[in-house]
Symmetry: C2
Subunit: 469 residues, 2 copies
Amino acid sequence: MARDPHDKPIAALVAPDILELLEASPGDIAAETEELHPADLAAVAEMIPRESVKALLAALPKERAADVLEYLDEELRTEVLEEIPTEQAAELVSQMTPDDRTDVLEEIDEQVAEDIVSELSAEAREETERLLKFEPDTAGGLMTTEFVSVSGEITVDQALDAVRSLARSGRKEAMYAIYATDREGRLAGVLSLRELLAAQPGAKISDIAWTEVASVTPNADRKEVADTTAKYDLIAVPVVSESGHLMGVVTVDDVIDALQDEQTEDIQKLGGLEALDEPYTSMTFWGMIRKRAVWLCLLFIGELLTASAMQHYEDELRRALVLSLFIPLIVSSGGNSGSQATSLIIRAMALGELKLRDWWRVAMRELPTGLMLGAILGTLGVARVLLWQMTGFWDYGPHYLLLSITVGVAVLGVVTFGSLIGSMLPFALRRFGLDPASASAPFVATLVDVTGLVIYFFVALMLLSGTLL
Amino acid sequence: MARDPHDKPIAALVAPDILELLEASPGDIAAETEELHPADLAAVAEMIPRESVKALLAALPKERAADVLEYLDEELRTEVLEEIPTEQAAELVSQMTPDDRTDVLEEIDEQVAEDIVSELSAEAREETERLLKFEPDTAGGLMTTEFVSVSGEITVDQALDAVRSLARSGRKEAMYAIYATDREGRLAGVLSLRELLAAQPGAKISDIAWTEVASVTPNADRKEVADTTAKYDLIAVPVVSESGHLMGVVTVDDVIDALQDEQTEDIQKLGGLEALDEPYTSMTFWGMIRKRAVWLCLLFIGELLTASAMQHYEDELRRALVLSLFIPLIVSSGGNSGSQATSLIIRAMALGELKLRDWWRVAMRELPTGLMLGAILGTLGVARVLLWQMTGFWDYGPHYLLLSITVGVAVLGVVTFGSLIGSMLPFALRRFGLDPASASAPFVATLVDVTGLVIYFFVALMLLSGTLL
């Protein structure tokens, strides 16, 4: 892993002046940083006192202040918006694109958000209220309503003029894809800005646009939006209503953010906790406990079955205490192989490499894989027992050979079972309409722990009856 | 999780005709699918016999055939390229953008790739050979060398003309960002195509371009490229040499692919195996065993320590066999809390929310979190023992109360320890220059299993000496 670019966000750009800059007045900061990307100016803002942040935003041109606000840390942005006068907040968010405006308003106190919305112009208010109705993680919640759509009847030249005048208007339409509509206003084609620039000036848009448009519905979740973008290499995904009308577009920068969020959720679920939905660093203590305790408690209750299983075999343990020595080793081998299989399958499903119907094919693949992995580990297990016995490290008694075979066969069985259950669990979850990513490593380990004990004692009873048992 | 769009890639677009289409001759397929996105045509190609794929590619216009080839499954694409005549292959890849061409050539047999490269035009050959020298996962390996760069001295109108004529040339430059160079040819500014369209026709480029350009070095890894793109909401990241010259740009579609690959790697590592580097479905049996067996064996060898720990406490177990009943429960609680902490920290590090220097802050946060989670689970553990005892399900003997407290305190200790070690391991790995994502859930579970046993027996010796022990 190379250095994290976040380690020196500003240093790379304005290094020697940064300390000086932090000492300057908000007005001077605004003047000195005209060329700075708003993301970097936001990073500067995060280093100065909160009161100065407000002064800085006031000192910047409105549009730039809105840009900086958008790149601020969620926590700081929320604080600032909740503390500045409602009119000033409304002025700032009205400079944002509709999708960013909605995102920002969704984070802050509901009453404050309502107050700010009521200060917006009628048009912006209506649009914002409409967008706020969509779930934030859906195409509708991610889309912006400022895009370029032209009638298919006009010419390339007319379309280019329209694009140029939109660009000059200062509004921030997503304009690298130009959408063509038919006479009823339905989405009928798409053209990249490059294609528009390359086209013959007199050609009719409907003649040169691509009529097969990859699109999503407003209720499509962010994963579908990301998948569509990745599949077709899009820079904007059109969001189309059931009637075929273009409602908005999700731009690629929001797709990247959505992809990161989705992946954060998948990793957290795989680790065996509820998705945090906010950065680790900004979670409260009790929020963190809640997100983690629920799954831990459920897993613990599942693990209680191991105590019951052990009780069931207490007689065997009493007769051959030596069996207990290998319990953690054997059950954890199953958990580890199960975690591997689960993470492989969850990711292959997320990437669309595996569908529900592939479950049998996967099972028929994991079975030999698990047997082979189990044979390798089982051999290690046999070797361990024999080695300790031969070198005199430990005396496993007269039946050490049978014991070593018991350990080996149990490992073989548990690893095979772990690989199978770990690979099938995501399919089972999806089958029942649940998120396959909920098949966490700890969940699989817990399942395998209980069954691992049963397998171990079953093998022991088979092989050791009449000798140790 | 909503439906996977990959479940019906073509159905959505040409549903009723698809079966008919699959029966048609390659020439007819080519003619019938003119409006289809190349990604969808590639999906059609994946359903027809391999010989027909070759015929289909031959029947398509060269540029379109190259597009389709690019969207084909890696496996199928490799087979096709290795089987068709070298000249035809060279013609196809010469239609691709330099970055895609390099990607494709890197996948196929080295000798075949060399033959194909030698058939390219001198210019394309030189460029391809230069790009092939970069590691595939670095900015240099991801970048295309076809971008729009203009002298800062020219006017907006002149730049727009240059862009239009480039667009008309049919080459596929990344053109939504226009780079301005100074007199020495070094990168001096950037302008989006939107800004260029909005600018005054007579303005000088160097006067209106942004002079602070976010860029990466050719050796930057894909994660850094993705982070820079996400941070600045870019649609292309310029790759700049040490001397300040623009060498190429990484376009956002490749950034998305890189992000997905990086994510796949992180999830597979978290699951406790080596990154596959290719789809689950196309791995060979032995390739899969290799990727999984190494870590499983290492973990198994680590787990062997549990057997040694158990041997160490055999005397205690003999005196109080009842202690063995709770061993799987206690050690797995630690593993589960450790997996949670690890996945949280790994992700927060990947997102740049946590840096190496934050380790102490995280430790001071995980300590109380672990104690609280441990207290909750410990209480459950105490309740379990008391409940079974009271209801007569099981008789833990006269010292059941002390035993229940032993279980509770051990769970408290193990969960706290698990949370701490799980959160600190990624920091430790990064500290020693390793990838924090290698701190897999099974790795943490193994670490915690061994120490969990020690904690359990330590607590037992403290609390039960003189009674059970």
